[in-house]
Structures are given as C-alpha cells and as structure tokens.
C-alpha cells in the first residue's frame, strides 16, 4: 500500500483529498501545517506528498527544502498544490525540486491520475 501525505491548512480541501485517496487504496496521512508535515515524514516515510505552499508557521517551500537536504527523504515525490499560479511561482516551485506543480482549484480525477503516474515512474 502506497503512503500519501496531504499537507494543507484548509480542512475541507483535506477532507476531499483524504476521501478520494482512501478510496484509491492509499494509506493517508494528514498534516495541517509544515511543522506537522515534517514530524510525520520523519516517523513514517511516505511515497508521495501533496504540499500546499501558503500555510501558517512553516510553509510549503520550507518543507520541500527540508526534504531535499535530507539523504533519507530526498527521494520522496512532491506535488505542490497551490492557488499561486503565476508562471514565476510555478517555475520557482519546480526549481526547488518539486516533481509537479498543480494549481488550485484542480480537477480531482486529474490529480489522482498525476499521482499514480508519478509513482509508477522510476
């Protein structure tokens, strides 16, 4: 069973994502800000992270940075999920090392498809 970590401070977004990925047979972890996300990642390494950018305290960029600086964690796939959708934002996100950048609001089927494709890629 693949493990997915959902990081977002919007409870309703988290709720929808949790439902859909449980249905797709993922083991779902939830974090409501960056600090929580890092705690979870350290304890149970997920296969993929859906990461919001604008969150209180520790933001998405910081989480990604943390992952990329760690030898054990830098292989985890990361998809940024953000309402920031200017070309410069997207470019920055990818440069920092995210595997995908999906802007909000997203089509949920499409998101599931992207997650599966990313996990099948070696």
């Amino acid at each position: 069973m693949k493990k997915i970590l959902i990081v977002d401070d919007e409870p309703n977004i988290v709720m929808s994502l949790e439902y859909i990925f449980k249905k797709e047979d993922f083991q779902v972890y939830i974090a409501r800000d960056g600090a929580e996300a890092i705690e979870i990642v350290e304890n149970s390494i997920p296969d993929i992270i859906l990461l919001d950018i604008m969150m209180p305290n520790v933001d998405g960029y910081q989480v990604l940075n943390y992952l990329k600086n760690s030898e054990t964690l830098n292989k985890i796939k990361v998809i940024f999920l953000s309402a920031k959708n200017k070309a410069s934002d997207i470019e920055l996100g990818l440069q920092l090392g995210a595997d995908k950048y999906i802007s909000k609001p997203f089509a949920i089927k499409n998101l599931v498809k992207e997650v599966k494709e990313l996990l099948n890629k070696k």
Binding site: D9, E10, P11, N12, I13, M15, S16, L17, Y19, I20, K23, R32, D33, M54, P56, N57, A83, K84, K86, K104, P105, F106, A107, I108, K109
Partner: protein, 876 residues
C-alpha cells in the same frame, strides 16, 4: 642667440601645436582627446606668463605673497565636485557658451546685462592679453640680446606671432556654429602646452637650485644674509594677514570667473565625473609649479644683488648669465607656451561673448532674420573670427602704445579685481532666488566705477607721469576721497584696497536692490531653474513657464534660418519623440518655445535667441505667482507619476491576494462536488458532511466578495457615512446581542461594567460593524478554559475610547501593526483555520479613519490583547 634661430624654433613649435590641434579635431572621439587628464591640464591655462615670470618677480621683491594667487584656487577647487557640477549642469542644460550668457540667462535673458558683462570682461582681459604679448616680446629681446624694442610694427616679431595666434584661435575656435560645442583641437593643444610649461619650469627650478647652488639649504643660507630678507618672508602682521586673505579670496573668484577659466572648466567639460580627478590633480599641478619659485627668486636676488635687473626676468636671466643658452631657450619656450595658451583661450572666450552678447543682439538680428540659413551660419562664424582678430590686434596696440612698465603681477591683479565685479551677481544668482537683474546691473556698474576710481585712474596718472594731487590728497583735496585710502582705510595695499571697497559696495547694492525690487516673472522662472537646478533639471523643457500663442510653422522658420533645413528637422524630430508629440501638431507649447530658444542659444547667445523666438510668438504676461504655481504643479505631476506607479504595484499585490483567497474555498467546493458527482457508492452521512462543507465554503466566498467591495467603497470614499448623533452605550449593547448565546455556549464571561454613555456623531451601522469585528476576534482568541471578554469606554475632553479586551495569548509585538493589513493572518492562531476573511480589521481601520478616529492594538499587562478605537467628540 641669433634672432633667426629663435624665430625658427618658435615656428617649429607653433607648427607642432597646430598639428596637435588639427589631429585632435580629426580624432575627436579618440581616448587621447577625451580624458580627465587633458581636461585637468587645460585648466592650467590659469598659469600664464605671469606665473612663469611674474611669480618669481613678486617672490624676489615681496616674498611669499605670490602664493596667494594659487592658495585661493587650491582652497576652492575641492568644492567643485558640488559647486562646479551645478554650474556645468546648468550650462549644458541651457546650451550656454560664455560667462556673459550664463549671467544674462539667469536674470531672464537680459540683453543689456549680457552686454554689460561682456564689456567688463573685455576691459579686464584685453590689457591682460597685452601683458602676455609684452612678455613674449620682452623675453624674445632678452634671449636674442636686443635691447631696444622694434619701432616699426612690421619689424616686430611679436606682431607676427600675434597674427599667427589669431589665425590659430579663429580657425580652431569656429569649427562649429554652436559655440557651446567643445573645441577639442584647441583644448588638446592647450593641455600639451600645460605639460611643456610645467616641465620646463621644473627643469629651470632644478637647475637653479641644484646646479647653480647646492640645494635649498645653500640658497637659503646665502639669501638670508641679504638686506630686507626677514621682512619679505613673513605675512607681515595683521595688515599683511588681511591682504593675504583678500588676495586669496580674489584668486578664488578668478579661478572660476575669468572668461578663459569659465571656457575651459565649464564649456569644454565633456563629463561631470572628470571633476573628481580635477579636485586633486589640478591643485597638485599648481603646487608643483610653485615649488621652485622661491628658490629661483632667492637665487636671482643673490646672483644679481648689485645689479639693476628686472626681477620678473630672473627665470630667463639666470641660465643666460651662466651662458647656458639651451636652457634659456627652454625657459623662453615654456613662457611662450604659457602666454600663447592664455591668448588663444581668452580671445576665443571673449570673441564668443562679443558676438553673442554684444554684436549680434545689438546689430545683426534684423539682418539675420531676413537672410538664408547658409549665409547666417557663415556670418555668425565670421563675426566671431573678426572678433578674435580685433581683440588680439587691439591688445597688441594697447601694449605698443602704453608703456606697460608695471610689474606683470600688478596688471594681472587689476584684471582679477575687474572680473571680481561679476562675483555677486554670479554667485548670488546661483544660490539666491531673489537676486534680480536690475540689482545685478547696478552692482556691477557701481563696483566697476569704484575699481576705476581706486585703481585704474591712479595707475594711469602714475604711468603717464601726469602731475596732479589726486592720489596724494584725494579728489578736490578731500582726504577721505584719496583713491588709495578711501574713507580713510589705510589697512590695504592698492589692489586689495580696491577689491575690498568695490566688492563691498557691489554686494551691498546687489542685495539691497534685489530685496527692494522684485524681478519680472521671467527672471524668477530662470532663478528657480538655476537655484534649484537639481530639481528642475529632470523637468528639462518643462521647467520653463510660458503662456501665449505660437505656431510650430513660425518657429520652424526661425530655426531653419540659423540651423539649416536638416539640423532643424533632426532637432524637431528628436523633440517630438522625447515628448511623444504628434508631428502634425500646429500649435507650439512652452516646451517647444524653450527648446527652440536653447537650440539658438548655442549659436547666437541667449539674449538674441529670446528676441528671435519672441518675434514669432505672441506671449501673454503672467504673474510671478502663476509662474511659481505652474512650476510647482509640473514638479508635482512628475512626483505623482511615481506615486501612481507605486499604487499600481500595491493594487497588483492586492489583486493577487484576493485571487488566492477566492480560489481556496472554490478549490474545496470543486473537489467535493466532483466526488459527489462521480461517486455513486458514497454513504449518506458523508454525503451530508460534504454538502454542508460546500454550503459553508460558498458562504465564505460571498462574505469575501462583500468585504472586498466594502473595503473598496470605504477606501475610495465612494460610500457616504450616515452621520447622526447616537448613544455609544446603546450601539455597544446592540452589537453585543448576537454574542450572548455564543458566550454561554463557550463559557466565556462578558464584562460590561465599565461602559459609560456619551452622545457621539457617527454612522451607527458602520461602528456596530467595527465592534462586532473586534468582539469576534476577542471571542476567537480568548482563553479556551476560562475565557473572558471585556468591553469598556473611556470619555475624555475631546474623544471617546472604546476598548475590547480578551484574556488569550496576546499578540506578538511585531504583529501589533500588521494585523490591520488586508488578509493578514496571525502566526499565532490555533491550527483550526478561523472563519474570518482576513479583512475584518482592515475594514474596521478604514471605517474608524473615515470617522477621523484612530484604532490600535496592544497587549494587556496581565494577559491577552486589547484593541481600542477612538471617536472624536464634537462638543459645541
């Protein structure tokens, strides 16, 4: 030495100088021509034959006083980075080509003032040019062993040299019709001459000090036993101190206002940053030049102690006396180059002044405005060429007909004093808005007359051996009118005495007249542009205020007459591009009028340019107040443009945030709806939960939109406040109502004990909105276990303060101000996201400010935060 040899050397030397000028003019883009060193060296045209021979003469007879002539410049030059930059900027910006143009433009293109300045300069400088010719002639006689000057002009070598110099100046000085263009050929040649005169002077200095004597100590030891030595080498008490001070001041003025210095420093400046090199390199040059002066002087005094020898000629006589003819020839060439560079630059500067400020505006304007452009440019150049010849020839005859047997220094200093009369109107005009043209004219005239009375008349009486009691007993025998001791002042030597009185009266009259009589609006316009040059430089043509009727067609006609079809077309195209004006525009505005005046200024001077343009436009009188107003508005328009850009940027950022805030609920709505749509197996409780979320997220979107619109209305003042008198207590109680149930549910205690009542004028709905906002914040952040919210009012003299307090964690100090920003979310929130839009406090702030109140946040000393707003009491 044989005359033929010397003449041959002079001719070869002149040929080299001509060639260098020619080469520089051809290669005017070359690095060798355009660099700060050439510029600095060209400033050394300050060191004339007077420096070469006269300094030594002065040092031999009066000791260290010669230093004052260089002390002044060395003191003032470091300020040039600011002062001279200002002058250069103004001159470049207005295409100024001479000192006379500068002063006349500052006082509103005053034609008479320009002519007056020109006359003063000509009167001061022509004798000075004569002096240089005299130096050439005398030293020529010394080196060729002629003891009598040639009687007939045609036998006089100096005459031919003068003609050659006139040809040189006329040829290289009039390459461009626009006199504000740089004369690279001449300047490069002058720079070369500056090197030559310094090197040769150092050589002779070295020769005297270390070859004729055994170094400085030896000379000092021998010189110190000569009679008069002690008194010569001191400042000479208080009187001497005053003389030193005034002479330094005089030379400070001279280094900036001598026409040749203005020419090389301002007009010929290629880049402002060259000044950074000048401020140390030029003082260094002057210091080097003066190192050996005192030793040569002492050496001369020792060697020629019992002979009747002109101390001015020590530099030349010392090597000759020692039979070193080669060295004497070098000295002669050094002095020769010092003299000719002064003659060339001075005559060029004066000729431009004469043509642009005297001859053209008073004699040729009518003719010019009738003929074709080709003829006009040729005529302008010819007027300048003829002026150069005339000046040099007049100077030659001046030297021939008056026995200029005064020492070199004193005649040079007289020129300085006459030129110094321009200082009050020049510097006053640069820093004082009130300085007016009438004041400038009176000041210069009075100052000049005093100089004539206290210096020139006695000098003429003295040199022509006229028998009169004028000098000794004063005019009509009145002793306080003694020219050398005016009003009984005995402190000074003649030159400093004349300088003191003339400049004092000049400055006083300039200030008094300026204060008592306002200048015209036009003057004040230029006064603003000169005094506040940095502010108005950015506005360029926009800094000029003009009202009236003018047509592009007429202005174009005038321009074509002086610049030709092509240049006019090019210039106008540039102008249209710069201001983004349609080429077909028929009516000219102030900017075009000013632009055209500037274009013509370079060719025919500012006064004529003004007259010509004025002849084709109908100008309306404007009051001074209007000029200042318009200037102010133009300036503000420029500033508000920058503000506008800043506001645009803020608006962009605001829109970004709004988009982000709207997308978040929409993301939830979409995701949840898509699941509901696609998933048929979904159980009922989950379905209900999803639908509830969709509804609440939709509400969030509407709330957000309402708040944004609200904020926008308040910020732009589109919504009028419904102002009426209300009881503040009632309003507070009304606002509390919806919270009572919530308080019971959450177990939060509400403290309402300190609410005092007062009648205040406000918009009740809006103030209620503020109180609700503050209360919901307080409820959100109050202590979770034993929450307490307190609302209180405090009435004082002129305002009522309403505070809402909670007993939660309080606000981080660095957030106390930021929480009122749009969409600011506290870092300290609980993990569950609050329902607010992030705009509540921003809206509250906007509401309170439109009531002329204040709102702020602070932490309570015990626990929690306090948010307070005030409303002004408008008690009768």
């Amino acid at each position: 030495m044989s005359s033929f040899l010397v003449i041959a050397v002079i001719l070869v030397y002149l040929a080299v100088i001509f060639y260098v000028a020619y080469w520089a003019e051809k290669n005017s883009k070359s690095r060798w021509v355009n660099n700060p060193y050439i510029y600095t060296l060209s400033l050394a045209v300050y060191c004339t034959a007077w420096t070469y021979y006269g300094s030594v003469g002065l040092a031999a007879t009066s000791g260290l006083k010669f230093l004052t002539i260089y002390l002044g410049p060395i003191i003032i030059i470091p300020t040039w980075v600011i002062l001279m930059r200002k002058i250069i900027r103004i001159s470049k910006g207005n295409k100024i080509s001479t000192l006379a143009d500068f002063i006349s433009l500052r006082y509103g293109n005053d034609r008479f003032l320009g002519a007056l300045v020109t006359l003063v300069c000509v009167l001061a400088i022509v004798p000075y040019i004569s002096l240089q010719l005299k130096a050439i002639s005398e030293t020529f006689n010394v080196i060729t062993n002629h003891h009598i000057s040639a009687i007939s002009i045609l036998d006089d070598t100096t005459f031919y040299i003068a003609i050659l110099l006139a040809i040189f100046a006329a040829f290289f000085g009039t390459q461009h019709t626009d006199a504000s263009e740089r004369h690279k050929g001449i300047i490069t040649a002058i720079a070369l001459e500056s090197v030559i005169k310094l090197v040769f002077f150092l050589v002779i200095g070295f020769y005297v000090t270390f070859y004729l004597f055994n170094g400085p100590t030896d000379i000092y030891n021998q010189a110190s036993v000569l009679p008069n030595f002690k008194t010569q080498q001191t400042i000479d008490g208080l009187n001497g101190g005053f003389n030193w001070f005034l002479l330094s001041l005089l030379s400070m003025i001279a280094i900036m206002l001598l026409p040749r210095q203005f020419q090389v420093t301002v007009i010929e400046n290629e880049r402002e940053k060259y000044l950074q090199k000048v401020i140390w390199l030029f003082p260094l040059y002057l210091l080097l030049f003066n190192v050996f002066v005192i030793f040569i002087a002492w050496g001369g005094n020792i060697i020629f102690q019992n002979q009747q020898v002109d101390a001015d000629l020590f530099t030349l006589l010392l090597p000759l006396n020692n039979n070193n003819e080669f060295l004497a020839l070098l000295v002669f060439l050094g002095g020769f180059s010092a003299a000719i560079s002064m003659v060339v630059i001075s005559s060029l500067a004066l000729a431009t002044m004469l043509s642009n400020n005297l001859i053209i505006p008073y004699g040729f304007l009518k003719r010019f405005s009738k003929s074709e452009s080709e003829e006009n440019t040729e005529s302008i150049k010819n007027i300048r060429r003829i002026s150069i010849f005339l000046l040099i020839i007049i100077a030659y005859f001046f030297y021939k007909s008056f026995t200029l047997d005064r020492p070199l220094v004193s005649i040079g200093l007289i020129s300085f004093v006459v030129i110094a009369q321009l200082a009050p109107s020049f510097f006053g005009g640069l820093f004082w808005r009130r300085g007016s043209s009438k004041a400038a004219k009176y000041g210069i005239i009075i100052g000049f007359l005093i100089t004539v009375y206290t210096l020139l008349i006695p000098l003429i009486i003295d040199s022509q051996s006229i028998v009169t009691t004028f000098v000794d007993e004063g005019l009509f025998g009145i002793s306080i009118l003694k020219p050398y001791e005016l009003f009984g002042l005995q402190l000074f030597e003649p030159v400093t005495h004349a300088f003191f009185w003339s400049l004092l009266f000049n400055a006083i009259i300039y200030s008094l007249v300026s204060v008592n009589k306002l200048g015209s609006y036009r003057e004040r316009n230029f006064a603003e542009m000169f005094v506040d040059s940095t502010k108005y430089a950015a506005l360029q043509e926009g800094a000029y205020v003009w009202k009236g009727e003018a047509y592009v067609r007429d202005i174009r006609k005038v321009l074509t007459r002086f610049l030709g079809e092509n240049r006019t077309e090019r210039a106008l195209n540039l102008f249209y591009m710069k201001y983004d004006i349609d080429k077909k525009t028929q009516v000219a505005d102030a900017r075009l009028v000013n632009f055209s005046e500037k274009l013509l200024t370079g060719s025919i001077g500012s006064a004529s340019a003004r007259i010509l343009i004025a002849s084709v436009v109908k100008e309306e009188e404007i009051s001074l107040a209007e000029v200042l107003n318009i200037l102010d508005e133009t300036q503000k328009a420029k500033e508000s443009n920058i503000e506008l850009k800043e506001r645009d940027k803020q608006k962009d950022e605001f829109l970004d945030t709004v988009a982000h805030e709207l997308k978040t609920p929409i993301t939830s709505i979409r995701a949840l709806s898509e699941i509901l749509l696609a998933d048929d197996e979904i159980d009922n409780p989950t379905k209900k939960k999803f639908l509830t979320s969709i509804v609440s997220e939709s509400e969030r979107v509407s709330r957000l939109i309402n708040n944004i619109l609200d904020l926008e209305k308040l910020a732009t003042g589109k919504e009028k406040l419904d102002l009426n008198e209300h009881s503040i207590k009632n309003t507070i109680l009304k606002s509390i109502d919806p919270f009572r149930q919530l308080a019971i549910n959450k177990g939060i205690k509400m403290n309402l004990n300190e609410i005092n009542d007062v009648e205040v004028v406000y918009d009740e709905d809006r103030i209620q909105q503020v109180i609700v906002n503050l209360l919901s914040n307080a409820f959100k952040f109050s202590n979770e276990e034993s929450g307490e919210v307190k609302i209180s009012t405090y009435v004082n003299q002129n305002k009522v303060e309403i505070s809402v307090e909670d007993n939660g964690k309080g606000i981080e100090n660095d957030e106390l101000i930021a929480i009122f920003n749009k969409f600011y979310q506290s870092k300290n929130q609980t993990l569950l996201k609050p329902i607010g839009s992030g705009l509540g406090l921003a809206i509250s702030k906007q509401i309170i400010e439109s009531h002329n109140g204040k709102i702020w946040a602070e932490n309570r000393s015990s626990q929690g935060a306090r948010l307070t707003f005030t409303l002004p009491l408008n008690r009768p």
